[in-house]
Symmetry: C2
Subunit: 338 residues, 2 copies
Amino acid sequence: MPLSEFNLIDQYFTRHRAKISGSPIELGIGDDCALLTPLPGEQLAISTDMLVAGRHFFEDVEPRALGHKALAVNLSDLAAMGATPLAFTLAISLPQPIDTARLAWLHAFSDGLFTLADTHHCTLIGGDTTAGPLTLCLTVLGSVKKDNALQRAAARIEDDIWVSGTLGDARLALGDYRQEWIVEKKYQSVVRRALEWPQPRVALGLALPGIAHAAIDLSDGLAGDLAHIVQRSAVGATVMMDRIPRSEALAQQPLSIQYRCMLSGGDDYELCFTAPPTARTVLTQISADLSLPLTRIGKITTLPKALDHANATPPSILWIDHNGVALADVFRGFDHFH
Amino acid sequence: MPLSEFNLIDQYFTRHRAKISGSPIELGIGDDCALLTPLPGEQLAISTDMLVAGRHFFEDVEPRALGHKALAVNLSDLAAMGATPLAFTLAISLPQPIDTARLAWLHAFSDGLFTLADTHHCTLIGGDTTAGPLTLCLTVLGSVKKDNALQRAAARIEDDIWVSGTLGDARLALGDYRQEWIVEKKYQSVVRRALEWPQPRVALGLALPGIAHAAIDLSDGLAGDLAHIVQRSAVGATVMMDRIPRSEALAQQPLSIQYRCMLSGGDDYELCFTAPPTARTVLTQISADLSLPLTRIGKITTLPKALDHANATPPSILWIDHNGVALADVFRGFDHFH
């Protein structure tokens, strides 16, 4: 079999050529462009992510997990906007040779990718395959009712700050792998699952429009991601650090490691959102309906005033530790250049 | 200056944060997703391309030209559908360190990119920046009236086959660079321009709906790309090889090199389209209006019948050489794995 670009796409990534009746996708893979007709009154939400081997994932990661995660991190961006997944494109650069091992890799990768795509009725509509260093680039398209999208700039003073799930396990797993610290054996499969099989909070995102104000997905770590909300909304925030939800596995670690993993670890793909206190009851109900913990960790405040004695910009987020001491926002978001 | 992912995007790629009145783009860079509301009655055309250093371009290529070409090859896909450019996302993986030289590179790259984007009113709406091997991935979105899109599967028997511009100069330049052959000094700047600064045929694409039937952009070489039209349309084709338009520079070369460059060279980014003979007059007028040569190179035919004496599939495209001899379709499209 000649292993050309064209039959790689045909064999592993082309599934639905026929027009699906009632679908907004009029034309999928196989032409110069895909064609998509959004529903009336709906906006398209669009996001793109690139994943590079050795930086976003280990080259030897289980390919099924990689296929899952590559799409999951993009669906997480749609969730943060309150958008319904619709379609995605995939560009993939693959090291040569395309031998039997690589074909098995592609089979498992596409299986992981499509299993998650099917769960969310998200159709692959276009792609590009090339030889080169192992790199993935996905662009997702979602649909959201006009004026319903959750934006980072929409936080209001007095809003509660909420996060879904638990934070820090992905970073905890990475540190164990890198021998920065040790995770007890009985927790290892749980924290590795958090790193390799993140679950995008699509259902939560769809439940939030009309209830929440601002939202963001936690891809770079709570400190950096909440800073985006605060900056774009021109507000401040106070976070009670002992309220930040963490797994039993992370709670075993010294506080310094807990903070590091929860605040600047990244790769959580939980949602952080703000909502008025009047929304607490309905959010508790949503949490129960989705079997997904939702935890209030703090409040949106006015932007702190500059101190008298210095020109320094005051921190916009106050992190209150378990002793009630306010720490400056020294925690950095995960940065793909650091 | 800390060279983080965030301020690289801010400094080089964020330009239009405010909502542009009347634009379908409601929200650009800076949130989890961009938001876009297509016009009523319009479809979205979507295409994605990945460009890898050392494979699609030389690592030391002039960055302004690279920025231009990265978007040009994507706009060419929109042109082939008859779609108006609307927006694009850019993911870029950059080798470290991000030093002064790389910043100058980014400045020139984004200048080349945005100059072409502005020409076509195509807005950057999202992106991702990461460290890694130099790789670009763009996804473009265009708008086309419902049922107006030019598709590969729409060729009809008796259609003329047309191509725009001249073919083969990009491959001719590459071969000169690789010392496969020599291009006379007086032609070098012209053919290098074809390789490095391809002009997407957006205006031609917009003129074709209602006139042309099938269309494709010539990115992989005429032989491979026309084969896509023929296969998807379940027709055959006859091409008069001496009619294929070529530059003065290419015409200096032996016929074998001419054929190789025109038929399997790739990187032309001209349009190949089919149209009924009744469209000849209007196409001649379009050619004059756009100052862009349009050349009839052959005909769409019925699919050739299988030969009696063999089980072999007959060639679906007959390439007639200058002696009137039909060659089998032995020319392969450019394949990024070969």
